[in-house]
């Protein structure tokens, strides 16, 4: 075991005081030490299941070391709901059957959330480009696209 160092991660607005090896990846630390969601599908940055928001930008938490995320605002899927009220994206995914096994879902939700918060008027073409960043093996994507479009409309009109 390599020497551990003390870091503090800010996740979903909370501060987590952690002791980690520098080589520990962010996805593993979020899951194992913070008890939050970061599903690792490939650990080489292709599938995007591990996508979280780092300072508002979608990022592959499998390609970051936890120590690199210090001082950043990290958001996982647990940040979307407001108490008992689901985020429009979450509700839209349910309404449009945009998930089956659910493994890629947190990654898609954070990817879409980051993209739409950055640009609420994202065009359909740009949205498709964004969503093509992540893999889904179950749904064939069309319901995910429909869900994100529906949520985008709702997020705009609020």
């Amino acid at each position: 075991m390599l020497d551990k160092i003390d870091i503090e991660l800010t996740v979903n607005g909370h501060a987590y005081a952690l002791r980690v090896e520098p080589r520990r990846i962010l996805a593993d630390v979020l899951r194992e030490q913070c008890g939050l969601t970061a599903n690792a599908g490939c650990e080489h940055g292709v599938c995007g299941s591990c996508t979280v928001l780092i300072d508002g930008e979608p990022a592959r938490s499998c390609l970051m070391f936890a120590v690199q995320a210090q001082g950043k605002q990290i958001r996982t899927v647990e940040s979307l709901a407001d108490g008992n009220r689901l985020h429009p994206l979450q509700q839209a995914f349910i309404d449009h059957h945009a998930l089956q096994c659910g493994f890629c879902t947190p990654g898609f939700l954070m990817l879409a959330c980051g993209a739409l918060e950055r640009d609420p008027l994202l065009s359909d073409d740009d949205l498709l480009n964004v969503l093509s960043s992540n893999l889904c093996r179950c749904t064939g994507y069309q319901n995910i696209i429909r869900a994100v479009r529906a949520a985008a409309t709702q997020m705009r009109t609020g």
């Binding site: 490939c42 080489h44 292709v46 659910g102 493994f103 893999l135 179950c138």
Partner: protein, 796 residues
């Protein structure tokens, strides 16, 4: 939650797109359907969208050890030595090799009448030989998963190379002394094939290959074993697919009694047939938990998944058909080479048998002979992947139909019409068996669905439009594929339904869930019969400790088998409740109904009533003495069916080929499917569209490539390419219920595998049409390089 506050009628429905559900006479149930057939949203979703997903990587126990597998990096060789000293010095807890697990037999396969497969089973750790890159040669246990990986890298394995076989077509070699790499040949025949070929006017011959690919779920495999010393119970977590059968197999391999092993399902990140079989790693975590008296956790990485999880699909067919001048197929003679990889795994020869039995497809083939060479090669072992054997057989059969059209000059669609089995011939007995079950197509109107699909896409206008585009220089074309599927694997299923004193309904099943919506579908069926909101129903699955017998989720069986058992159990429970209600109200049973969980007199919803919850509370063990009734508002239901049900479909694709790059853009894709009866049309659509996406992957992108030494080259998701949102068009889905199955009370057929098998063939047909050369595509996947080679070969 807001969502759960909504009334049933207010639940958001996705049916505006699915209102084109074409129903004729649905199979009747004796209550008005309020929830069967509706596109209600899923019970499963809330936790999965809000961070409540518990996949294998999230399952941990205090004091757990982590297992890491040391894998062979030679495709075939003798193990000369394994040196674990550096690993142990580094600080892991233990390193096992084959000598540490001698009491564990090789992993079994399912019962089969095929003889002689036993010597080819895989040991949990390689013994004297390794036979594929990725085969376990040692396992390391450590306190931390990163340390386990470090230690595994320090284990040195010395291997002396043996000749490598990467091609199932080449002559068989030696698996072990006295055993060749062709364990068996699958043969089926009916009709006088040779005589027909002798006198045939037209003979069509094709040489076709389907590339090696597989399910590749987004979640890699994992297993967590926990031995509860106090209860002497071994627990295996993150199990799925066939919990009871797997438990029984583990019991035999570990020499424990079955009731001392419990399997638990958590959330499962996709199955597709490849997850949920017993692999060496499952046995090893269990053995380790028993020996160390500590929980043992194993999560594979993606490279391991691509080289150690079941492969599938790779077959090479040499097919001949005798045809008359009207394009009718008189006989088919097919010889194929099935590339099984290094070992026989838990499915034995089932995939190859399925190919052999289903190859004639939806067509009337008067005479047929198939010879399936089941061959072992030095590659990752293969088994079932969604629509196993049938993606392969449909590709071959549909390529054959296009070839018949080309040879006879008859239109592709017309040729198919002339050969399709007619509705009037149902049930149609094909004189072949698959694993001792005769192929009997239960119901179907293949020509009718073909008409509907052509009408839906507007075939004539579409084709005229494509011709104009071709005239202006675009390489665009349309292809078609017709298929029949096999679903509802029996022979039996059973559930138990109980109402608790709070009014919640629990349906305990032996089913599993791989993410497809099992809970929702079964809840809809139960709720429909019991007169409650489906959201009051909790479905238990994937737990061997909750129900004694279970048959799992695979082969598109759950809605058919577990759904039918649920229907029967719910009817039994309803009858029980109404009988008691009838006594309470001093009324005849047929004057009562259950609405919103209350037993009422029909037509008097505001009158005297009793809730199911109240009834459940009254049926106590103490009350038994007075009433003579068994306690609890509970009932079982068993459904027996030896007959498969055969859903079917028609796919149409429009593609544009880029002659420079070889890229294929799928512009349109129509999937028409007759499901017999849809419990939830939205979930059926989800299955079919997901199938199409995977089918496109197999048609254009996905392949496990090996070098001549048997080294796998597709070891990351940057090499093994899967479809993205750019690669899958907006699939137009036409769902029909024209041919309910007579084999079960609700008329259901399965949908889990129903949209993948024709995709390779349909895309091939479209590409041929786009480049104007019939029969150009003979090999999947049609990668850009292969298509460029085809185009260059044609002088384009």
């Amino acid at each position: 939650m807001e969502y759960f506050d909504l009334q049933l009628e207010e639940l958001p429905l996705v049916s505006d797109r699915l209102d084109r559900l074409e129903r004729t006479t649905s199979a009747a149930s004796n209550v008005t359907s309020t929830q069967i057939g509706r596109a209600v949203t899923r019970l499963e979703d809330l936790p999965l969208v809000s961070g409540g997903g518990r996949f294998a990587a999230s399952i941990s126990f205090p004091r757990q050890l982590h297992m890491r597998v040391v894998r062979a990096d030679h495709a075939h060789g003798k193990i000369l030595s394994i040196d674990a000293s550096r690993a142990l010095a580094h600080g892991c807890v233990a390193v096992w090799t084959a000598k540490d697990v001698t009491e564990v037999p090789p992993i079994e396969f399912r019962p089969t009448s095929v003889k002689g497969l036993e010597p080819y089973c895989q040991p949990v750790i390689a013994r004297d030989r390794v036979r594929y890159v990725g085969e376990p040669v040692a396992v390391v246990f450590a306190e931390d998963p990163y340390e386990a990986e470090d230690a595994a890298d320090l284990v040195s394995v010395e291997i002396e190379d043996l000749p490598v076989i990467v091609d199932a077509d080449q002559p068989p070699g030696e698996f072990a002394a006295g055993y060749s790499t062709e364990p068996t040949v699958i043969r089926k025949v009916y009709g006088n094939v040779d005589e027909i070929f002798r006198t045939a006017g037209v003979v069509v011959e094709l040489d076709l290959s389907i590339g090696r690919h597989s399910g590749v779920p987004l979640e890699t495999r994992g297993a967590i074993a926990n031995y509860d010393v106090a209860r002497d119970v071994l627990e295996l977590h993150a199990a799925t697919k066939r919990p009871h059968a797997n438990r029984d197999m583990l019991a035999r391999l570990l020499h424990r009694t079955p009731s001392s092993i419990h399997l638990y399902e958590c959330h499962i990140g996709g199955g597709f047939g490849v997850r949920g079989e017993i692999y060496p790693e499952d046995v090893l975590v269990c053995l380790a938990a028993l020996r160390f008296s500590r929980p043992v956790k194993w999560i594979e990485d993606r490279r391991e998944n691509l080289i150690a999880c079941n492969h599938s699909r790779q077959q090479h067919h040499c097919i001949r058909a005798a045809v008359d001048s009207h394009g009718r197929v008189l006989a088919i003679d097919d010889t194929f080479f099935h590339d099984q990889g290094a070992y026989v795994r838990t499915h034995g020869t089932r995939v190859a048998e399925g190919t052999a039995g289903m190859l004639p497809g939806p067509y009337r083939v008067p005479a047929y002979r198939v010879t399936g060479h089941y061959r072992l090669t030095n590659k990752t072992p293969a088994a079932t992947y969604r629509s196993p054997g049938r993606y392969e057989s449909t590709f071959v059969c549909e390529r054959l139909m296009d070839a018949v059209a080309a040879k006879t000059g008859i239109d592709r669609i017309e040729v198919r019409r002339r050969n399709l089995i007619a509705k009037s011939e149902m049930p149609y007995v094909r004189p072949v068996d698959i694993r001792d079950h005769q192929v009997v197509m239960d119901s179907g109107d293949y020509a009718g669905l073909l008409d509907k699909a052509l009408a839906r896409i507007g075939w004539d206008d579409l084709y005229a439009h494509l011709k104009r585009r071709r005239a202006s220089g675009e390489a665009v074309g349309a292809g078609i594929g017709i298929f029949v599927e096999r679903s509802g694997l029996g022979p039996v299923d059973g559930v138990r339904i109980t109402v608790d004193s709070g009014g919640s309904i629990e349906v305990v099943t032996g089913a599993a869930s791989v993410g497809q919506g099992v809970e929702t579908v079964l809840a809809q069926i139960a709720a429909d019969v019991l007169g409650v909101d489906y959201r009051m129903v909790r479905v238990v699955h994937g737990r061997t400790d909750r129900i004694d017998y279970g048959f799992g989720t695979h082969a598109a069986r759950t809605t058919v088998m577990t759904g039918s058992a649920t229907h029967i159990a719910a009817q039994n429970l309803r009858a029980k409740a109404l009988k008691i209600g009838a006594e309470m109200f001093d009324a005849a049973v047929d004057t009562l109904d259950i609405v919103d969980g209350r037993i009422i007199r029909k037509g008097h919803p505001e009158g005297a009533s009793v809730t199911l919850a109240e009834l459940a509370s009254m049926l106590t063990p103490a009350a038994m003495a007075k009433t003579g009734r068994d306690p609890g508002l509970t009932a079982e239901g068993w459904f027996h069916s030896d007959a498969h049900s055969y859903p079917y479909g028609v796919h149409i694709a429009v593609v544009r080929v880029d002659r420079e790059t070889g890229d294929v853009k799928v512009e349109r894709y129509l999937a028409a499917y007759d499901v017999g009866r849809a419990i939830n049309p939205m979930l059926v659509e989800g299955q079919i569209v997901g199938c199409v996406a995977q089918g496109l992957g197999g048609a254009l992108l996905e392949e496990f490539v090996y070098d001549p030494n048997g080294a796998p080259l597709s070891t990351t998701l940057a090499d093994y390419l899967m479809p993205t949102a750019h690669d899958v068009p907006d699939v137009e889905f036409l769902l029909t219920e024209d041919a309910p199955s007579p084999t079960n009370p609700l008329g259901i057929k399965g949908a889990g595998e129903g949209g993948i098998s024709p995709v390779g063939a349909t895309i091939a047909s479209a590409i041929d049409d786009a480049i104007g050369v019939a029969g150009a595509v003979t090999q999947l996947p049609v990668t850009p390089m292969r298509l460029r080679a085809i185009l260059r070969g044609l002088g384009s």
